[in-house]
């Protein structure tokens, strides 16, 4: 049994706010992912949970008991460090049995446990190997064993970027192993796992907390954060996106609201925007389109508000030719570049908006038909299902720039 509550936790280093009033609840037996870019404060958060860093203010509760002032040892949890932190001067068995020794647990008991763990992790027979002799994957296992063997009543495992140091291929297969282990009947762990990889998070998490610049942006299941991102940052972090800005306009069609659109918010945004305002909904004009979004996805946005429409590149669809009856949720363009990526094809479709170039990214499952027919420089129509459009109140150009810049 372990449930973790963070209550208004803050931590700053000199003038830098690493964590800014974070409150989180991690449920018992939950696989909880903390997701965010480098420097978001993820590792600081983990170390506060583990008791390696004391928060400046706020409380850490384990099962509703305040443990803020307890040492890391007293919290009794398993912590796996980013580069594993295997003691370089001890062999595998000494590493794994370290916590048994410092707690004076029954040595015979420890011995059998260690043997079992070694067997489980395919490391039998390598007992006296030193950490430096092991491959990355094996080190990861040893570190995991060492962390697991420290657990007594509190079944809490903390993983700091557990797969980061591994080759890409190995990473994929180990994600599932981690999840299966955490959920296995014998262990039933509560896991807090930090990562900066969206896919890894989606793959293992029961719930995901997305943090950025020391603040929790959104907490939810993988589905929630993917389909109902709270803001542009979350939307962009979860996949490649296209975005358009425009004005929300109510139309007389019952239960529908209408978004009227212009152009990707680059420098030339203002000009395009001016043009777009007076245009009626059922335009026949080139290069502009109307997005029809179901009412339940519009939320608090009012008629006339400036809005930002986000569509994930893999929610975009593409067909050859430019025959569309209505420009509802559909845009005309030309395939600028295409790239086979294995499971997907990725298209960069160039729209011509008043002499300005705009690129829309479309990724669709690869088939041989696409390989042979969707060639570069062909005229295409790009469209998207209405329920997959994500609409935000327009956050302002600066915020967009801030979120989308490569830092």
């Amino acid at each position: 049994m372990v449930k973790i509550n963070l209550d208004n936790v803050s931590k700053s280093y000199k003038k830098f706010n690493a964590l800014d009033h974070i409150s989180l609840e991690i449920k018992d037996k939950e696989y909880f992912i903390i997701l965010g870019p480098t420097g978001a404060g993820k590792t600081t958060l983990l170390k506060i949970i583990a008791g390696l860093i004391k928060p400046d203010s706020g409380k850490v509760l384990f099962d509703s008991k305040d443990v803020t002032n307890n040492t890391s040892g007293e919290r009794n949890l398993g912590f796996m460090f980013e580069n594993y932190a295997l003691f370089p001067h001890m062999n595998i068995v000494e590493n794994i049995s370290y916590s048994g020794r410092v707690h004076a647990r029954d040595t015979r008991n420890t011995k059998t446990l260690v043997d079992q763990v070694l067997m489980m992790t395919l490391l039998t027979g390598r007992d006296d190997a030193m950490p430096e002799e092991l491959s990355g994957g094996m080190r990861q296992r040893v570190a995991l064993c060492r962390a697991l063997l420290n657990l007594e009543q509190t079944k809490l495992l903390i993983l700091d970027e557990p797969l980061k140091a591994l080759d890409a291929g190995l990473r994929m297969s180990l994600r599932r192993e981690l999840l299966l282990m955490a959920k296995s009947k014998e262990l039933e762990l509560t896991v807090v796992h930090v990562t900066n990889e969206q896919e890894e998070a989606m793959m293992v998490a029961d719930r995901i907390a997305i943090i950025n610049q020391g603040k929790v942006i959104q907490v939810g299941t993988p589905n929630e954060v993917y389909y109902h991102p709270k803001n542009l940052f979350v939307a962009n972090f979860m996949s490649e996106i296209n975005y358009f800005d425009g004005i929300c306009k109510k139309e007389e069609i019952p239960t529908w609201d209408i978004l009227k659109e212009s152009k990707r918010g680059d420098k030339f945004y203002a000009e395009i925007h001016k043009v777009s305002i007076p245009i009626p909904v059922d335009i026949g004009m080139e290069n502009l389109f109307a997005a029809y979004i179901p009412k339940d996805r519009i939320g608090e946005i009012q008629n006339g508000d400036k809005v930002l429409l986000v569509i994930r590149s893999n929610h975009m669809k593409i067909r050859l030719g430019n025959r569309v009856q209505q420009k509802r949720n559909a845009i005309l363009g030309k395939i600028h570049r295409r790239k086979f990526m294995g499971v997907f094809y990725r298209f960069e479709v160039k729209l011509n908006v008043k002499n300005q170039e705009k690129i829309i990214i479309v990724t669709i499952p690869a088939t041989s038909e696409i390989h042979h027919t969707f060639l570069e420089n062909l005229e295409v129509t790009v469209y998207f299902p209405k329920e997959l459009g994500i609409l935000f109140k327009h956050p302002g150009e600066n915020v967009i720039k801030e979120v989308l810049k490569l830092e």
């Binding site: 170390k47 370089p88 001067h89 370290y98």
Partner: protein, 557 residues
């Protein structure tokens, strides 16, 4: 879309390769980047190294070997005194070793907590404390020894065995703390964190995780301190009273021109130091610390924070009362006694001597820096960049010899090699002092440069080469700015070491006096106020240098 701009902008300037003239500096550098020039520089450097460092040491052993009859006559079967000389030598060795052992042991006990406090804790005034602990390394030992003499004089400690130990504790301490600090800063806190999450109490973490990682630094520091204590002369003369340590005996032999006895003793000292050095190089990896066994309950009990507070407070008190105050006690004595009358108005023009020896000290220091820089830089490159396998290992070990062996013995070896008894190229005096100083301070220049070269990123040099820079251009534009800190550190270290050296100087000095020697002379002549003034002067001067060094280091981060 990036790249579009570049395409759109039409380039009007067309360049033809044949017409391009490289600027002269690049041309010269390209020319001299040829392997042949590099090889010649390497050879010159190694010849220098062999002549200055290895030659005199080999020479002293061959001298002993060739002079076995006269040594046995002088040392073991003297007509007048029989084997008294040998008994003296044995006695002095015993004194020197016991002093060094005790001093290092005391230093170690205190250095562990202090180095941890200085690396792992954060508190106000940490930087000042850090600088104060480092400072005695830069101050001439004779000034330090004099300060210690005055301080313990208050408590009635007379010159002699005990006082020597108290003095040696003071000036060897920084070497140990410094080495520990370096390894502690390098050792990742990550491992200690990992042990904390696994439930290990503080003492257990220190013993099982931190200590093994500090191992090399602890051993290196201890041996360095041991050999420094073994070889120290200036302060020891001041504090010794009637006790004779080995270096004092060498100085004495040299003064009385008993060269066979002197070379015999110097040979013994050098051999022992070399054995220590090689055993350090060889055994450091194999020495194990007790990490397997754990006494959980006892260690958990003693890891309680009150014990920690008590220990830290105790160590701070010891640090202040045994190290810091004795080191700088002399500054409070400046107004005692009739300074003006003795220094400026005396019959013997003491101030003229002070001025002259201060100048000589600075001249010798500056020249030593310059020479060491010229040969030290290529030598550091040889050690770090050339792939000569065993040769590099050999040179690397040889490089530590001048640090490890007592400077009085090294000075004497050089005197024998270059002086009238050997090649006869130099007479005792300015150039020979310079020669000796270059020799024993060489590693102090090379080590920091090797340090920065090893940690310097080879990647940027490769990047520069892929961009079209020849090897020498890479050195000038990329490598040099990156290793500047190491060069400055090395230069200041060399300068302070040269400024502070007594024993080696006395052996080869002729009629010239350097500041530390002058202090020793004045103390021996009971001219305390003048000696205090001279000491204060060099302590302040060293403090400025250390301050400069730390600013340079800080800017690096």
């Amino acid at each position: 879309m990036i790249g579009e701009t570049l395409k759109r902008k039409n380039l009007n300037v067309e360049i033809k390769w044949e017409e391009i003239q490289l600027p002269l500096s690049l041309k010269i550098e390209k020319f001299f980047s040829k392997p042949i020039y590099r090889k010649s520089l390497d050879s010159i450097t190694i010849v220098f190294f062999v002549l200055v460092i290895i030659g005199p040491i080999i020479n002293i052993f061959s001298t002993i070997f060739l002079n076995i009859p006269s040594i046995s006559e002088d040392v073991f079967n003297d007509d007048l005194i029989g084997n008294l000389q040998w008994l003296n030598i044995l006695n002095s060795l015993g004194v020197s070793f016991s002093i060094a052992a005790i001093a290092v042991a005391v230093d170690l006990v205190i250095a562990f907590p202090i180095s941890i406090i200085l690396t792992r804790y954060n508190f106000r005034g940490k930087k000042i404390l850090d600088a104060l602990v480092d400072l005695p390394m830069a101050v001439p030992t004779s000034a330090l020894g004099f300060s210690v003499l005055l301080y313990w004089g208050i408590f009635g400690v007379e010159p002699g065995y005990t006082l020597i130990i108290l003095g040696h504790i003071v000036f060897t301490f920084p070497y140990i703390v410094r080495n520990m600090k370096i390894v502690l800063e390098k050792a990742d806190v990550l491992y200690e964190d990992a042990a904390r999450t696994l439930g290990a109490p503080g003492i257990t973490i220190f013993r099982t995780i931190t200590l093994p990682m500090m191992k090399e630094g602890v051993i290196a520091g201890a041996i360095l301190a041991f050999t420094r204590s073994l070889g120290e002369t200036g302060a020891t003369i001041i504090m010794a009273g009637l006790v004779e340590t080995a270096p004092i005996l060498i100085v004495g032999f040299r003064r009385q021109l008993e060269l066979p006895s002197a070379s015999f003793l110097a040979g013994i000292l050098i051999s022992i130091s070399l054995i220590l050095l090689f055993s350090m190089k060889f055994f450091t990896r194999k020495v194990g610390f007790p990490v397997k066994r754990v006494w959980p309950n006892i260690e958990r009990f003693f890891s309680h924070k009150y014990f920690r507070y008590f220990r830290d407070a105790l160590m701070m008190i010891i640090l202040i009362s045994i190290f810091l105050i004795p080191s700088f006690f002399i500054l409070s004595q400046i107004f005692e006694g009739d300074l003006i009358g003795e220094l400026f108005l005396g019959q013997d023009y003491k101030w003229v001597y002070l001025y002259a020896s201060f100048l000589s000290s600075i001249e010798i220091g500056a020249l030593a820096v310059a020479i060491n820089l010229i040969f030290g830089l290529p030598f550091a490159f040889i050690i770090t960049k050339r792939k000569w396998g065993k040769v590099i290992t050999f040179l690397d070990t040889m490089l530590d010899i001048p640090i490890a062996i007592p400077s009085a013995a090294l000075g004497f070896a050089i005197f024998l090699f270059w002086g009238p008894a050997g090649l006869g190229l130099f007479q005792p005096g300015f150039f020979m002092i310079l020669f000796v100083h270059v020799s024993f301070s060489f590693p102090y220049m090379v080590r920091p440069i090797i340090g920065v070269l090893e940690s310097a990123n080879i990647g940027v040099e490769e990047a520069a080469r892929t961009l079209g820079a020849s090897n020498l251009t890479v050195f000038r534009k990329i490598t040099l700015p990156n290793i500047k800190q190491g060069i400055i550190t090395g230069s200041i270290m060399v300068f302070t070491r040269s400024l502070g050296e007594t024993g080696a100087t006395i052996v080869v000095m002729g009629s010239i006096r350097t500041i530390p020697v002058l202090i020793v002379d004045w103390v021996e002549a009971n001219a305390f106020p003048s000696a205090i003034f001279a000491s204060t002067l060099v302590i302040l001067f060293s403090a400025i240098l250390i301050f400069a060094l730390r600013t340079v280091r800080k800017r690096k981060r």
